[in-house]
């Protein structure tokens, strides 16, 4: 597979403050990559480096083979970008905004009007009179309307109501079916699970891990519930990978299991078991695993 987005040892410092440090990232053609992490982790800094808005302190980044800083105009021809904060020209109407941005891209505005219609966005009003959600919808239209081969979105559902979020997921899936590559940052875990093939977890400016969504869910963390015919045996908490063990009603135990399940099964098999269920851990659990419960709620 061809690499569409590539970052090699990418670093960005703001004076003494580290935005991103030594980040390596590769997103393949047609892939949807989720960039997961709380505020201040370095998601937006990475995205702005990819868009040529920030000059990397060290390392390099390319989009479709183009250097994101030195060839930023070429990159921006190929990328649809949705910033994290929606900032638009208040004096323009929605329609005028679409026309203005479409002109930069030599793209007919009609595609933008159609997208706006699907999102239920009124275009004959000045943007200054739009609600936060309407502005977000318009920003989404601006990012998608030129049908770019690469989409980079910073927290795309920020400020959208649930119904519009569903429409956006549909739009993104349609876009992907057309062969587009998608990178988006989020701290909305179900959203990442819903859209992405792979996820990168970023912490304090460094990429902690990159995993396939299925791998994260099925291999790394499990929620296990066992109902024994008799009392819960002692010593389960000492098995490798077992945590958060909770005994209920004397014969029921719930625990989290990280890593191999075999040692647990072999141990449990020594006793009479009434029920045994394994659930895939949510990304919330995965997230907390990487960040620790005291840091994971930063959003």
């Amino acid at each position: 597979m061809k690499s569409v987005i590539l970052a090699e040892s990418l670093s960005k410092h703001y004076g003494k403050v580290v935005g991103v440090e030594g980040l390596d990232l590769e997103v393949e053609e047609g892939e949807a990559f989720g960039f997961l992490g709380p505020n201040g982790a370095g998601k937006t800094t990475t995205i702005r480096c990819l868009m040529g808005l920030l000059k990397p302190t060290a390392g390099r980044a390319t989009v479709l083979g183009l250097e994101t800083w030195a060839q930023s105009v070429g990159v921006r021809e190929l990328v649809g970008y949705l910033p994290g904060e929606t900032a638009l020209y208040g004096r323009l109407t929605g329609e005028a905004t679409i026309r203005f941005i479409a002109n930069f891209n030599n793209h007919p505005p009609e595609d933008g009007f159609e997208l706006a219609s699907r999102l239920g966005l009124v275009l004959d009003r000045r943007v200054s009179g739009y609600s936060k959600g309407m502005k977000r919808k318009l920003a989404i239209v601006l990012a998608l309307m030129k049908k770019p081969p690469v989409l980079i979105m910073d927290e795309p559902t920020n400020g959208l109501d649930p119904l519009v979020q569903l429409t956006l997921y549909d739009l993104l899936n349609e876009h992907r079916e057309g062969g587009a590559t998608l990178l988006f940052s989020s701290h909305n875990l179900p959203e990442v699970e819903r859209i992405c093939d792979r996820v990168g977890i970023i912490r304090e400016g460094s990429l902690v891990t990159t995993e396939r969504i299925e791998d994260l869910r099925s291999v790394r963390l499990r929620n296990v519930e066992i109902i024994f015919a008799g009392q819960v045996p002692d010593g389960l908490e000492s098995l490798p990978g077992v945590s958060d063990l909770e005994v209920q009603a004397g014969n029921r135990v719930q625990l989290k299991l990280k890593g191999e399940i075999d040692p647990l099964i072999k141990r449990v098999a020594r006793y009479e078991v009434a029920d045994f269920s394994v659930g895939h851990a949510s990304l919330e659990d995965v997230f907390l695993e990487f960040y620790g419960s005291d840091e994971g709620s930063g959003g």
Binding site: R48, V73, L88, Y89, I101, F104
Partner: protein, 268 residues
């Protein structure tokens, strides 16, 4: 340059520019309407000149000031100071919104997410700013001609035509460092304060040079050393050296702004 951006900038700024133009026209109208009365007051010249500080007379080059001359009257009442303030206000308010204003509003991120080079963004907006300056200076000159004729005032047509490039060059120089400050700073309010402060500094440097030998040595460093409307109106000739120096000021500052903007991180 990018025509899409030029069209949008004109659409954003024409109302504000029209207000400035309207103010200039109204003030010229008032001066031209009042001038015949002023001219008739025989004691005015003596009393008025007697009350003016010597330095001020030297500053405005009014040694040969004649209140019966519309050109001298225009210099003293308008082109020497008030007109400069109006043009500086226009250039600074326009420039402060170019980069710093767009960063504060967050719209620069939207703009620079489009396939347009940074230098094109700045030169497109700079071209509209220069167009506005030319328009306002032309408005001043044309309205002077029109109201001068309407009120039967005798004026130096060649002098005002020669003032055109000088006025444009002075306002362009103010715009040049204002744009640079906008490219360097984050907050438009600070840009406006710094640019106004710098303009005032140049003005006071020139004014102080009239009194102080020390300051006089540094006068060439400021833009007002090259701006003498009374001399231009009375001679009727374009002060080519002064115009070129002021345009060089503008070009150097604008080039520095371009260079800085080209390398600047855009983080809202």
């Amino acid at each position: 340059m990018n025509w899409n951006l030029i069209r949008k900038t004109i659409s954003d700024r024409w109302r504000g520019t029209a207000v400035y133009a309207g103010g200039l026209v109204a003030y010229v109208l008032m001066l031209a309407a009042l001038f015949p009365s002023v001219q008739k007051v025989g004691t005015f010249k003596k009393a008025y000149m007697k009350d003016l500080p010597e330095g001020l007379i030297k500053f405005f080059n009014l040694q040969k000031f004649d209140v019966t001359s519309f050109d001298s009257y225009m210099t003293l009442q308008f082109l020497g100071l008030l007109w400069v303030i109006v043009m500086a206000a226009f250039a600074i308010s326009f420039a402060r919104n170019m980069v710093a204003g767009e960063i504060q509003d967050g719209t620069l991120e939207l703009l620079l997410a489009q396939p347009v080079a940074r230098w094109k963004v700045m030169t497109s907006e700079g071209a509209v700013l220069l167009g506005g300056i030319i328009g306002l200076v032309a408005t001043t000159v044309v309205s002077t001609f029109a109201f001068g004729a309407a009120f039967g005032v005798k004026l130096s047509y060649s002098g005002y035509l020669a003032f055109l490039p000088l006025g444009i060059a002075l306002a362009a120089a103010i715009a040049g460092y204002s744009v640079l400050l906008s490219a360097v700073m984050r907050e438009p309010r600070r840009v406006a304060m710094a640019a106004s402060g710098l303009t005032l500094f140049f003005y006071l440097l020139h004014f102080g040079g009239m009194y102080s030998k020390v300051l006089e040595k540094f006068d060439w460093f400021g833009i007002f050393h090259y701006y003498n409307p009374q001399k231009v109106l009375s001679s009727g000739g374009v002060p080519a050296r002064d115009v070129l120096v002021l345009l060089a000021f503008a070009a150097v500052f604008f080039a520095a702004a371009l260079l800085f903007f080209q390398r600047r991180d855009i983080a809202v």
